[in-house]
């Protein structure tokens, strides 16, 4: 079976799939990561995926509304969180500065996901606005096509700071190479991450099995390790 997954799930979902396949050796799972908005556009043209894990509940909901999926297969699997991330080599004390990291004079470029189509980009923009630094930071923003590309921009030191998913900041490649500050959950609308099984799923039973595993105890434990919670 195949999954289209939001790019903040990279690493967390890789672990989940590994654990799942160990329990269900007869089911092989393929995952494609990308921007939720891009998948949504592709799924409107019936892209051949069985399960869609979005970084946002809106996209699955719209697929249900447009008849691409059944209401009963829609589910919430996590709440995402945002962090301000800087590389280990950065002189900025992100703990002390908090959101003011992004307006520090030493920072030239701040990477976020593109707010036009990436849920994490919208949340980052909302947080910058509600924490009253948006006007000062606006000219420094660079946009990744997904939150993973935003993370890549800052981890390669091409950007000086980034507002990325906590799940990526806790992932093996970034965990030891940078420092981060958690953006308060009330600074932006909650990143409710939802999924849905597509009506044209080739292997509906397997898709339901993955959903059950992911929202069950084993899946939850892995998600929590990557900072995904179910409460805000």
């Amino acid at each position: 079976m195949s999954i289209a997954a939001a790019s903040d799930l990279k690493f967390a979902l890789d672990d989940i799939v590994l654990a799942f396949e160990r329990q269900h050796p007869d089911i092989s799972v393929g995952v494609t990561y990308g921007a939720s908005g891009m998948f949504f556009a592709q799924l409107l043209s019936r892209a051949p995926f069985d399960l869609f894990l979005s970084a946002d509940v809106e996209y699955p909901r719209k697929l249900v509304e447009q008849g691409q999926a059944e209401k009963t297969t829609e589910f919430l699997y996590a709440i995402g969180h945002l962090v301000v991330w800087v590389p280990q080599s950065s002189p900025l004390d992100v703990d002390a500065l908090g959101i003011r990291t992004v307006i520090d004079p030493a920072v030239r470029r701040v990477a976020i996901a593109n707010p036009r189509h990436a849920p994490y980009g919208r949340a980052a923009e909302a947080a910058l606005k509600s924490l009253k630094v948006y006007d000062a930071v606006q000219d420094r923003l660079v946009f990744g096509e997904s939150v993973a590309q935003a993370a890549q921009f800052v981890s390669s030191a091409a950007a000086d700071a980034g507002i990325i998913a906590l799940s990526l900041a806790l992932s093996p490649p970034l965990r030891d190479t940078g420092r981060f500050w958690r953006v308060p959950a009330d600074a932006h609308p909650p990143l409710e991450q939802g999924g849905v099984i597509l009506s044209w799923a080739r292997d509906r039973a397997a898709a339901e099995e993955v959903r059950r595993f992911m929202t069950g105890a084993a899946g939850r434990a892995i998600l929590e390790r990557y900072g995904f919670t179910l409460e805000r």
């Binding site: 470029r109 189509h117 921009f153």
Partner: protein, 216 residues
């Protein structure tokens, strides 16, 4: 229509073509006339972007120009700026990526110039530079124009390199092809469709009079 993106794409294509003319012409002339060893290796290097995925090139440009890298730090010391996410950054990627699209037609045009005319020019006392300017260049001109058109058009359509090093900043790095990608992802099919149609018409208009691929 996103005219900022249209203007930016034209600006990028014009700058890329101008730079390729300056570095590409001498390089192509050298490739066409030299018999030195190493020519084949240089020729292969120039052709590399024909087969390399643009993402590979974009990845290398991003890694090589980020602050903390040697070229990145050098550039910062010289100009005070950084290459990624700047117009200069996508211009660098674009020049590298379009090298074969300009240099190969240039070199082919120079190679078609009758060698006897070049040698006659030398025998009559003209220097190599004079021969290049007054004999080779005028004779090879149609092929050079073809290479310029190809490089220009190809830059307008460039996507992968700009996506990797650009960061989609309006007016700086969000070219027309990136704007189309953003529009599609944001489900703004009307805007994407308009821009896409413009590119189709542009490509047709550019290729119609171009000698590329036509029997000589």
């Amino acid at each position: 229509m996103d005219w900022t993106a249209v203007r930016l794409s034209l600006q990028l294509a014009a700058s890329t073509t101008a730079i390729l003319l300056v570095i590409g012409l001498p390089l192509a002339y050298w490739l066409a006339t030299t018999r030195r060893r190493g020519r084949a290796a240089i020729e292969t290097l120039v052709a590399l972007p024909l087969v390399l995925p643009p993402t590979v090139l974009g990845f290398y440009v991003l890694m090589a120009t980020a602050p903390g890298s040697v070229p990145g730090d050098l550039y910062q010391r010289l100009t005070g700026g950084v290459l990624p996410f700047s117009f200069q950054g996508i211009l660098l990627g674009s020049v590298l990526y379009n090298l074969p699209f300009a240099v190969r037609p240039f070199a082919a045009a120079f190679a078609r110039v009758d060698r006897r005319l070049i040698e006659a020019s030398w025998c009559l006392g003209a220097s190599r530079v004079q021969t290049f300017r007054r004999v080779a260049l005028p004779l090879a001109w149609p092929g050079i124009l073809g290479g310029m058109i190809l490089a220009f058009a190809h830059t307008i359509g460039e996507f992968g390199v700009v996506l990797m090093v650009g960061g989609s900043i309006p007016g700086v790095t969000r070219t027309l092809s990136i704007a189309i990608y953003d529009d599609v992802q944001a489900l703004d099919y009307a805007a994407a469709g308009e821009a896409a149609l413009l590119l189709v018409m542009f490509s047709f208009a550019v290729l119609a009079p171009c000698p590329f691929g036509r029997p000589a």
